[in-house]
């Protein structure tokens, strides 16, 4: 299949859009619908599915159904892009020094390592609830990239263990507040960056994510970042994930042929 050259009008070239909004808006829109749970795969994954309209679907137990293939929902380029009105990122001097000294080639994501939390890779991810159609005890997030990995969110009433070892995704426990799933995560290592520009954190990091399916096609993620080791005060960001109905996760083995790192130069940035 080879597409013909698109004609660009002067008006078109004046239109300024961000790469992110282009990515979201330019998804094709074939006719196949998704399942009520938002997890169907009826349509051609090469084309994506039509965005469902209306309110969030619900499970038989009345809880909103979060299952499906989503994209976005966290920072990629700069975590500041998600700050809620009135929020600010106030870095401690050591964290600021660390960030200013970071090189783009040092970004763990460029080296095919995990994004951590709340960063997301620019690829889809699937949210699974287990069991699927009653009170979920565990939610799994399966990542297509930046590496094939997963998060598990325990919603069975347990707390955090006392003997946590530091990890890339930490230990996550969740509970419902109305239609919002509140996920608290601790036990992070300090290796991952929040974004391309290199916002850092320490092992004191705690994140509280508040997930709400605000409509059938949108999963809102409002995350408060607590890290007294790197920031003067907590800050709260919001990013929306968009449903990718009709799509399945695809293989993405980042380390297969990663030639990028040896050619990346300069300080961390977009």
């Amino acid at each position: 299949m080879r597409f013909q050259l698109l004609r660009c009008t002067p008006v078109a070239t004046l239109v300024a859009v961000s790469a992110l909004s282009f990515q979201v808006l330019a998804q094709p829109t074939p006719a196949a619908a998704t399942s009520p749970a938002g997890s169907g795969s009826a349509s051609n994954p090469a084309l994506g599915g039509q965005k469902p309209k209306g309110p969030a679907p619900r499970l038989p137990n009345g809880k909103p159904d979060f299952s499906g293939v989503w994209q976005g929902g966290g920072p990629v380029g700069d975590i500041k892009d998600g700050l809620l009105p009135g929020e600010e990122i106030a870095m401690l001097p050591e964290a600021e020094k660390l960030m200013k000294g970071r090189l783009s080639s040092e970004d763990p994501e460029a080296r095919c390592l995990p994004t951590g939390v709340p960063r997301v890779a620019p690829y889809p991810w699937r949210l699974l609830q287990s069991p699927s159609y009653s009170d979920a005890k565990i939610l799994y997030i399966l990542f297509e990239g930046n590496i094939h990995s997963y998060r598990q969110i325990f919603v069975d009433g347990r707390g955090h263990p006392d003997d946590l070892e530091a990890t890339w995704y930490g230990h996550s426990i969740g509970h419902w507040e109305g239609d919002t799933l509140v996920v608290e995560t601790v036990g992070f290592n300090d290796k991952f960056w929040f974004d391309f520009v290199g916002h850092p954190h320490t092992t004191q990091l705690k994140t509280v994510e508040r997930y709400t399916r605000t409509d059938a096609a949108t999963l809102e993620n409002v995350t408060t970042v607590y890290d007294p080791g790197a920031y003067e005060k907590p800050f709260t960001i919001k990013f929306n994930a968009t449903l990718r109905p009709g799509e399945d996760l695809m293989e993405y083995i980042c380390n297969e042929n990663n030639q990028d790192v040896e050619h990346i130069r300069g300080k961390a940035g977009l």
Partner: protein
């Protein structure tokens, strides 16, 4: 209307200096202030992660042949756009527009890839997860 909007956005993307939707910073690897246009024959296609790549032989003014390494989006992004590992084949003659690698290597991102008959392969890739 949908097609028109997509076309508008696709054209608009041509003026976006630094697409950020990749696993690494675009600006860290490529210099958007150093655009380059290359024409040559495809010697190899790598349908691999994190980026698909292809290589072309480009003849210099002195007649010497140089092999260039050209970066596309990831195979998952390309596949979702309808492209495949056989969309570009060894022996195809292409003209590539992109930005030079900062490292000084014979390497660039392939923002636009046009075949000898004027048709385009991997359209949209750079703005939709590529770079």
């Amino acid at each position: 209307m949908a097609i028109r909007i997509i076309s508008l956005l696709a054209c608009a993307s041509l003026v976006v200096a630094a697409p950020v939707l990749a696993h690494h910073s675009f600006a860290g690897e490529y210099d958007s202030t150093k655009p380059i246009t290359l024409t040559g024959k495809v010697t190899k296609v790598e349908w691999t992660n994190p980026h698909a790549r292809f290589y072309i032989d480009v003849k210099g003014d002195d007649g010497a042949m140089t092999n260039w390494n050209l970066e596309l989006a990831s195979p998952n992004v390309l596949k979702r756009q309808g492209w495949s590992s056989t969309s570009l084949k060894e022996g195809d003659v292409v003209t590539v527009e992109g930005s030079l690698a900062r490292s000084g290597a014979k390497m660039a991102n392939a923002r636009l890839v046009t075949l000898a008959d004027g048709s385009r392969v991997f359209a949209r890739a750079a703005a939709d997860g590529g770079a």
